[in-house]
Structures are given as structure tokens and as C-alpha cells.
């Protein structure tokens, strides 16, 4: 093995350790009891597999006044994420399809404005959105929060699909038009079936964004409807007596698990989709 090879591998290894160490510490801590945490060091291994902290985090830990653990909030997040991801991805695909294959007067301007949407920070839209939700009677509801995520994500999903579809030759759509297909038929029969890589990108992106969102969740939802990120924050901040680091760590891992899983399952499609080039006929 040449010197440069050795160098490259050690660098990669170092980076891996750097990113994996926090996860390792969290995992180890979550498996210890409080006594072990106090007496041992951060990196010391637990004496046995002790899942007490996990079951407490899931079922009985206190997140403020209630002490029902994370499980209710986990399902809240699922209920928010699933429709928001599906709807924003479908709308993004349709936008991208229209912006590339059925261009209209001003479609470039429209796309330019959407691009600005990707650069707007969360904080900027907090107040106007709160007013809008109030006006629509959706303040504090799960549907309201879903709507916020869809609207905010639309700029991104549209950008993904538009950039993917621009590389699909127009002749494909023209051929289908001559074959007698219309707007929807071409979308569902020709365009969508070759969009799998970019659908995966959009789903992963939206899933992580929405699942990990804290700000919108804390602002636009309340009480029992809050997403898991907000619940995690409450759990960690609710301390009666001693700080239960093991429960905190278990809860944090529970909150991070779905995004981790999505990357493990679909990660290779994510990379493939991001680099996918022209679709050759």
C-alpha cells in the first residue's frame, strides 16, 4: 500500500470516528444506570445490557406535567411527516413537470421566485404564518403544521424535480403528445416512472427536514399535538431531582432513529439521484 493510500485511509477513519463517537457515547450512556454513569467515565462500557432507560424514555418519562414518555409524540411526528412529505413531493413533481415541459409565459420568473423561497430562513415566516394559520382557523392544529411544512418544503422539492426534468428530452413529451396522450397521462405514464431517483431524494430531504424540525413544531403546535423534537426538549428540560442522563440519551436516540433508518435504507439512492444525469431514450 502506497503512502498516499495510508494517508487517505487514516483520514477517512479519523472522520468516521469523529462522527461516530457522539453516537457511541449516547448509546453507552443510555445502557447504563445512574450509578454507573456517576462512577465511570464517558467512554467506559456498561456492565450489562440494561434497557430500563429506554423503556422509561418511551413510556413513562416526564415531558413537562405529563409523564407518558415519548411514544405519543413519536406518533405525532409520524402523523405530521407522512402527509407533509407525500404532498410536498407530489406537488414538487407537478411543479417541476409544468416548469420544464409545459412552460407558460412567466414560468422562468415563477421559478426564480420559488428559488428565493429556498433561501428564506425559518424565522422570517414565523409571524406572518402564525397570522395566516389563525386566519384559516388552523392555529395550533396538526393540519396547520403540516401545511406549513408543505409550503416551506415546496420550494425545495420543486427545485429538485425541475432540475431533474430539465434533463429529460422534450422530444419524449412531444412523442407522447403525438401518440395522443395529454397532460396527466404523460405525467403518470411517462414522466413519473422515470423519476424514481429524484423522488427518493425529495422524500429523504423532506423527511429529515420535517422530522428534525423544532422551530415550526414549537411555534405552531401545542400540548398533545407536539412533534417529537419538542417533546425531547421538554423531557430534557424537565428535571425533578437528579438529571437522568441515560433517559435523555435514550430519548434522543429514539428521536433520531427514523432519519437514521431512512438514510441507511435509501442512502445509496439519495446519492444516485443527486448525481443522476440525462435520461437516455
Amino acid at each position: 500500500m502506497s503512502l498516499s493510500r495510508v494517508l487517505i485511509y487514516s483520514l477517512v477513519l479519523l472522520a468516521a470516528v469523529f462522527y461516530l463517537l457522539p453516537l457511541f457515547v449516547m448509546l453507552m450512556t443510555s445502557l447504563k444506570d445512574l450509578e454507573e454513569i456517576r462512577s465511570g467515565t464517558l467512554l467506559s462500557l456498561p456492565q450489562g445490557l440494561n434497557f430500563d432507560a429506554w423503556s422509561k424514555a418511551w413510556g413513562t418519562a416526564c415531558t413537562g406535567v405529563d409523564c407518558n414518555g415519548m411514544k405519543g409524540f413519536f406518533w405525532n411526528s409520524v402523523l405530521i411527516v407522512v402527509p407533509a412529505v407525500i404532498i410536498s413531493t407530489i406537488l414538487g413533481a407537478l411543479n417541476g413537470y409544468v416548469l420544464t415541459k409545459w412552460r407558460f409565459r412567466g414560468s422562468n420568473l415563477f421559478f426564480g421566485m420559488l428559488l428565493i423561497g429556498t433561501m428564506i430562513p425559518f424565522q422570517v415566516i414565523l409571524l406572518p404564518m402564525a397570522r395566516t394559520l389563525g386566519f384559516l382557523g388552523l392555529a395550533g392544529t396538526t393540519s396547520g403544521l403540516i401545511m406549513v411544512h408543505i409550503i416551506y418544503g415546496l420550494a425545495f422539492t420543486t427545485l429538485f424535480f425541475r432540475n431533474y426534468y430539465i434533463s429529460i428530452p422534450n422530444e419524449l413529451v412531444n412523442a407522447a403528445r403525438i401518440d395522443g396522450a395529454g397532460f396527466w397521462l404523460i405525467f403518470f405514464r411517462i414522466v413519473l416512472p422515470i423519476s424514481v431517483p429524484i423522488v427518493v431524494v425529495s422524500v429523504i430531504w423532506q423527511f429529515t427536514q420535517i422530522w428534525n424540525d423544532f422551530l415550526f413544531g414549537v411555534v405552531y403546535s401545542s400540548g398533545d399535538a407536539q412533534p417529537i423534537t419538542v417533546a425531547l426538549n421538554n423531557l430534557v428540560n424537565t428535571s425533578m431531582g437528579v438529571k437522568e442522563y441515560n433517559v435523555d440519551m435514550a430519548a434522543a436516540i429514539i428521536a433520531a432513529l427514523p432519519t437514521l433508518l431512512v438514510y441507511i435504507v435509501a442512502g445509496k439512492y439519495f446519492v444516485r439521484g443527486l448525481t443522476a444525469g440525462a435520461v437516455k431514450g
Binding site: E171, N174, D179, G281
Partner: protein
């Protein structure tokens, strides 16, 4: 009834006029070629016939229907694209039957049509493959199959052979010609290859800068080009253009040709009356390589001029030799056994019966 009638059709993109008033008509069953250099508007015109581009001005009639504002699907046309545009997610069979399926063709009729088309194009073994598992030539066939399955009143082809290698292109060219003879449907075919235009077309429209320069049969366009552009575009190697002075000779007009260090007077065949106005002025002599040959006995009354040979290019059946006439490189087609050596003088025979003349300023033909 005409198969296709295009009346004063114009197209503007923004402020650019891409087509400037196109007029043409073809009879049912004719094979029309649109030929011209890149960017002259061939594809735009074809897309307008197809209904894929809107018409800025003018009318398009297919059969007895004005289709100017109809959707592509209502025009009764089928089209083969340059990039083939096969649906990548569908099998060959699905590609061919997609249009039929949309038109709600009954299942057994659909199957029969696919089978017939596949047989005609010899793609039966490929029916269950996806386009990316096909070679270029096979994709080309499938693209044609998709069009053939539709049985429309006009087929539109946009440079269908330009992505194939040279050998396959020649093969597919004769297949298309044979197919046309068999099905007899009207075809509009875009190409920038003048050999394809000559070999396939019943009628050719030579286009340049959004205008039709000349419209006629291949032979007519070859023998009687209307202007210097058409003359130079059709034919390979292309026609030679030699600027010459016109003089009054003893028995009619002569052209002054400087060749091999000496000046020669080349008599002009009679019958070109317009030339008399050019006495004392310059004209452009247009003469094709096959009219400049080695000296042969069976044409005793043609003029022979010694020419200095600069380049020799054997092609097999003929050898192209390049001489210099009036300072212009001129290609001549001679028999391989007759060629001399580079740098030597070779007597060449000028067959002026098919020579044409152009005004050097307007580039229009002098009749």
C-alpha cells in the same frame, strides 16, 4: 385534394423571424424532403406540421382539413424523432402500442398491429426489451415501428438517421425507401444530408434562412438550380464556382479561363440569352465535377484545356483531381487510369452542356 398544403406559414420566436412565409403543396403518397443547413428552420416547420409548435401566421392543411390550430393528436400524423424519444420505462412492445392503447384500440386488434409492425421491421425478438437494451439501429427501428403502428395520413421524420453510423445509415435509408414504396403513405422528411435528400425524395424543398430556395424533383434541383446556394448545397463533391470574364468571341460568347499559366477562351453553349448582358463583366460559372473529365474520343466537340493538378483523391470508381482555374480550386472527376501526377499539366475536357451561370452579386441563376 393535396396531402399537405402549407400556405404562407411564418414563425417568430420573440423578435426573431425563423420562418419567413413558407408555401408548398404535395400530392398524396409523395415523399417530401426538407433539406437545408443547420438552423434554417426545418425542424421548426416540421414541428408546426405536427402541431408541436404554434403557427405565428398562415395555414396548414392536411388532406381536406385545416389543422392550423388543432392539437397534435387530432392531426392524424405520426412522427419519428431524431433522438428516437422511446419511452425508457416501457418495453418495445409497449412503446409501439402506447398510441393505440390511448386511442382505445380493441385488444386483439392492438396485438395484431404490433405483430404486423414487428414483422415488417424485423424486431420481433426485441419486443420485450427496454430501449436501453437496444443498439442504435434497433432503437431507430422501434421508433419507426411506433409511427407505423398508427397508420396516419402523414408520417413526419426529423433526421431519423443522423445518429447512426455511416454504414447503418445507408442500410436504413434504403429500408425507409422500400417501406415508403410498400405502404405508400405521404412522408415529410427532414435532413441536412443532401445525399439522403436526393435518394429518398419525390420532391425536395431546399431551405435556407427560413425560406424555401427551391422546390422541385431531385433531378430538377440537381440539374437546374435556381441560385448559387442550391447549386452548391446539392451534390457531392459540390459544384465548382469559377468567376470568369465574358467576352464576345467569333462564334458567340466565350469565357476567359486562366489555367496552367496560359489564358484560354471557353465557348459557351448557345441558348443562355441572359449572358449577353454580361459581356465585359464577370459571371460565376457553375460546373459539376463530372463535367470536367479526362479527354475521351466520344465527345470530339467539347473543349479541352490543360490544367495544373494540385490534389489527387482516389475514391475507387473515380478519382477526384483538383486543378486551379482563374485562381479557384476546381474539382474534376476523372477515370482512375487517366489521372496524372500532382504538379503536372493534365488536359481536361469541359462539358458545357450542363454548365450553369450565376450573377456574382445576386448569386441568382442567369438564364
Amino acid at each position: 385534394m393535396k396531402a399537405l398544403k402549407i400556405q404562407n406559414v411564418e414563425k417568430t420566436f420573440g423578435s426573431i423571424k425563423v420562418l419567413k412565409g413558407i408555401d408548398l403543396e404535395i400530392e398524396p403518397g409523395q415523399f417530401l424532403i426538407l433539406v437545408g443547413p443547420s438552423g434554417c428552420g426545418k425542424s421548426t416547420l416540421l414541428n408546426m406540421i405536427a402541431g408541436l409548435e404554434s403557427v405565428s401566421n398562415g395555414n396548414i392543411t392536411i388532406g381536406d382539413r385545416d389543422v392550423t390550430h388543432l392539437d397534435p393528436k387530432d392531426r392524424d400524423i405520426a412522427m419519428v424523432f431524431q433522438s428516437y424519444a422511446l419511452y425508457p420505462n416501457m418495453t418495445v412492445k409497449q412503446n409501439i402500442s402506447f398510441g393505440l392503447e390511448i386511442n382505445k384500440t380493441p385488444k386483439d386488434e392492438l396485438e395484431a398491429t404490433v405483430a404486423k409492425v414487428a414483422k415488417m421491421l424485423q424486431i420481433e425478438p426485441l419486443l420485450n426489451r427496454k430501449p436501453k437494451q437496444l443498439s442504435g439501429g434497433q432503437r431507430q427501428r422501434v421508433a419507426m415501428g411506433r409511427a407505423l403502428a398508427r397508420d396516419p395520413s402523414i408520417y413526419l421524420f426529423d433526421e431519423p438517421l443522423s445518429n447512426l453510423d455511416a454504414k447503418l445509415r445507408v442500410e436504413m435509408r434504403s429500408e425507409i425507401k422500400e417501406l415508403h414504396q410498400r405502404v405508400g403513405t405521404t412522408i415529410v422528411y427532414v435532413t441536412h444530408d443532401q445525399i439522403e435528400a436526393m435518394t429518398l425524395g419525390d420532391v425536395i424543398a431546399v431551405m435556407k434562412d427560413g425560406e424555401i430556395q427551391q422546390f422541385g424533383s431531385p433531378q430538377d434541383i440537381y440539374d437546374n438550380p435556381k441560385n448559387q446556394f442550391v447549386a452548391g448545397f446539392m451534390g457531392s463533391p459540390s459544384m465548382n464556382f469559377v468567376p470568369c470574364d465574358v467576352k464576345q468571341g467569333m462564334n458567340g460568347l466565350v469565357l476567359v479561363l486562366e489555367s496552367g499559366g496560359a489564358s484560354h477562351e471557353l465557348p459557351v453553349e448557345n441558348g443562355i440569352e441572359g449572358l449577353s448582358e454580361y459581356v465585359g463583366k464577370k459571371v460565376v460559372l457553375g460546373i459539376r465535377p463530372e463535367q470536367l473529365t479526362q479527354v475521351s474520343e466520344d465527345k470530339p466537340d467539347t473543349m479541352t484545356i490543360p490544367c495544373l493538378i494540385e490534389i489527387i483523391e482516389p475514391t475507387g470508381p473515380d478519382t477526384m483531381v483538383t486543378a486551379r482555374l482563374n485562381g479557384v480550386r476546381t474539382v474534376c472527376r476523372v477515370h482512375p487510369t487517366a489521372q496524372s501526377k500532382v504538379g503536372e499539366l493534365m488536359p481536361l475536357q469541359f462539358d458545357m452542356s450542363k454548365a450553369v451561370f450565376f450573377d456574382p452579386d445576386t448569386e441568382q441563376r442567369i438564364y
